[in-house]
């Protein structure tokens, strides 16, 4: 089962929650899919097995077959192919690897080559697997890395620490997930961005519930919003300055019975809402 943790607004506490869920459930898997800024590993003890390059494909034009008809360029939604009567020029960095240009080329003049766009690091932590993706600086899209990460961990309980926002990478992190946890912040900006994440999840037909992090700050807008939209609130994490202080020191902060109990309960609520059934082999 894959459970994605998303938020809309950045900084609401996805990684905070994702790492604690992972630690609460020994033997589960955590994938850090915030590939532009993977930071979950900072809070974990990981024994690393290795790092591998992640590639994306881009079109290569066979000049002997190309008639410069321009069909590939007009097809491309990303302006990744320039065409004139004398030249057809693929722009590798703009290519989003959809494979469409080769399909539409009437001369079958297009093939694909690979280039590195980032890396994936893999290891073990807390009795389970931990992996992160990291997008190279300057690259436009982390989608390929996120897909590769998710495809390589399909068994058992998999937590996905998603990117902020609701753009392509966030969609790649929740697409086809079994359940999503929306980490909400009880502030006006938090609610406004959360509304966009709700729209994204509904469009993708991913069942979800909300966890209110930093509960106690801001206002009551988030509760009103969830009630109006009939959204399940799975639990709350009260605002606690000492937790923020611990994060700043790179610690997860599992250091009090109260906190351990809070996260154990939250984990239980989430797994129950997700319909997770432990399979004992």
């Amino acid at each position: 089962m894959q459970i994605s943790i998303v938020s809309g607004k950045g900084g609401t506490g996805k990684t905070t929650l994702a790492t604690r869920l992972f630690l609460s459930k020994g033997g589960s898997t955590l994938l850090d899919c915030d590939v532009e800024e993977p930071n979950a590993g900072i809070f974990l003890q990981v024994s690393w097995s290795g790092v591998e390059t992640c590639n994306s494909q881009f079109p290569v034009i066979n000049e002997e077959l190309c008639t410069h008809c321009g069909v590939c360029a007009s097809f491309c939604s990303f302006n990744a192919i320039l065409s004139s009567r004398r030249a057809t020029i693929p722009l590798a960095e703009r290519c989003h690897d959809c494979g469409g240009c080769a399909l539409v080329c009437p001369q079958k003049a297009i093939s694909y080559a690979e280039r590195g766009i980032g890396k994936i690091g893999r290891g073990r932590s807390n009795g389970g697997d931990f992996a992160y993706g990291s997008l190279n600086v300057g690259e436009l899209s982390g989608v390929g890395i996120i897909r590769k990460l998710r495809d390589s961990y399909r068994d058992g309980l998999v937590w996905i620490d998603g990117p902020p926002g609701t753009a392509c990478s966030a969609v790649a992190a929740v697409y086809d997930a079994d359940f999503a946890v929306l980490v909400g912040e009880p502030t006006p900006f938090g609610v406004s961005d959360m509304a966009m994440a709700v729209e994204m999840l509904r469009n993708l037909h991913v069942p979800f519930g909300v966890v209110v992090n930093k509960a106690g700050i801001g206002n009551s807008e988030i509760y009103e919003f969830c009630q109006k939209e009939n959204i399940l609130i799975l639990g709350e994490i009260p605002f606690d300055r000492s937790m923020a202080a611990e994060h700043a020191a790179g610690r997860v902060g599992f250091d009090s019975d109260e906190r351990n109990e809070l996260f154990a309960q939250l984990t239980g609520s989430i797994l129950s809402a997700a319909g997770y059934a432990e399979v004992h082999v």
Partner: protein
């Protein structure tokens, strides 16, 4: 050759736009005959990205060989070089007439291939 100028708004005086990739419209002029051929809307104005590259492609499709524009970003600059289009900096000119006259007099600064593109840095 066919020249393209970046135009803003609907005024008859054809005031120049300050942007290339997200320019409101382009005015195409036949530099040999002096005829103002047409004004085309720029769909790249609302593009989510690569507006400059899209604009270069748009002009190339219209057989434009020379662009008079404000600064081009690095991607648009590469694109126009790849498609063999010449570029002149519109400088302080205010309308298409100004810029075309300046171009005819050789007063517009050509952007050489070696010049580093500056762009508008308005992202």
């Amino acid at each position: 050759m066919i020249l393209a100028f970046c135009v803003r708004g609907n005024d008859e005086s054809l005031p120049l736009d300050e942007r290339f990739g997200r320019s409101d419209k382009f005015c195409l002029v036949n530099s040999d005959s002096g005829d103002y051929l047409k004004i085309i809307a720029n769909p790249m104005k609302e593009a989510t990205g690569s507006a400059g590259i899209g604009a270069v492609q748009l002009l190339s499709d219209q057989d434009v060989q020379g662009i008079i524009a404000p600064h081009l970003g690095p991607k648009a600059e590469d694109a126009r070089k790849d498609l063999d289009m010449k570029l002149w900096d519109q400088g302080d000119c205010k309308t298409v007439d100004d810029a075309f006259d300046s171009w005819k007099n050789g007063d517009l600064k050509p952007v050489a291939d070696s010049d580093r593109p500056k762009g508008l840095f308005r992202a």
